[in-house]
Symmetry: C2
Subunit: 167 residues, 2 copies
């Protein structure tokens, strides 16, 4: 079975891919929704946060075969290679995964017709947008539990002055 | 541009579609991950919650053209038709949307190899799974803001004894 999807819009970021990758807190950008889908935005003003689902179009066929990773983001945060466990891609946000879908929670700054100005983007310029959903109270889960390997990473990050949300 | 994705697994629920729809808190079921992707689950035990991205395969081509909706879930919760605003699909969780992708936060109960027993499913039996991600602290957004129309709905639901997370 193969499933077909069509982009409903595109991400605009005025930075190089390398600059986006190097940003810890995400960058500012514009979500452009194509003209034919603009009605779907009716009522979106007033949400402080949105969930954006995109397809990471620069991930290659070979990278899609990746099933285990040492999360690269942790190297960026200064962890030693030896302290980074190798885990399944479904336990991580790695872009290298069978279906390279990204789930990004962005801060909605301003709505100009079909152009949404947002913050906290971790996406490259030109990334196709598949869906936009509101971040509502039902998305907030309190008292989550995390595996030991994940807690150890959080501890090491805290030692380096980061908070858990940076991972 | 058309984007192709392949299911990495399938949802098993021992209930009819109507029973799933009628459930307010979601149902229990099994996420089966196909053999070839099993390595991607390594390290998943210990997460209390997962994010599952699926394709709502029963949504028709016509339903994919929907851009504005009166969220049906609200009728289920007993709201009057006249109190339900018509809003853009990107402001709702409506299954009727250009790319019928669902984002479901499930509670992970048990891992048996490539079979994950979960709770809080709102998906029909046979739904293809596209991706699984861990629910980590970075997914929790505090102090979210919501549009007036959304707050009014929440108020009406509270009058009926529901909490905001039910919407």
């Amino acid at each position: 079975m193969t499933l077909q999807l069509k982009p409903i819009g595109v991400v605009h970021v005025n930075l190089s891919d390398e600059e986006v990758k190097a940003s810890l807190k995400g960058v500012e950008g514009i979500l452009e929704v194509y003209e034919e889908y603009v009605e779907g935005l009716h009522g979106i003003e007033g949400f402080s946060h949105l969930i954006v689902i995109t397809l990471l179009h620069k991930v290659s066929e070979t990278q899609r075969k990746t099933l285990k990773v040492k999360p690269k983001r942790l190297k960026l945060l200064g962890l030693n290679e030896k302290d980074i466990p190798e885990v399944g891609v479904f336990c991580t946000d790695s872009p290298h995964r069978p279906n390279p879908l990204a789930l990004t929670i962005v801060e909605l700054v301003e709505v100009n017709g079909r152009f949404l100005k947002v913050r906290s983007l971790d996406l490259f310029d030109g990334t196709p947008i598949l869906d936009i959903k509101p971040y509502t109270p039902s998305r907030v889960v309190e008292n989550i539990k995390l595996p030991d390997w994940y807690q150890k990473i959080m501890e090491k990050l805290r030692e380096k002055g980061f908070d858990a949300k940076d991972f």
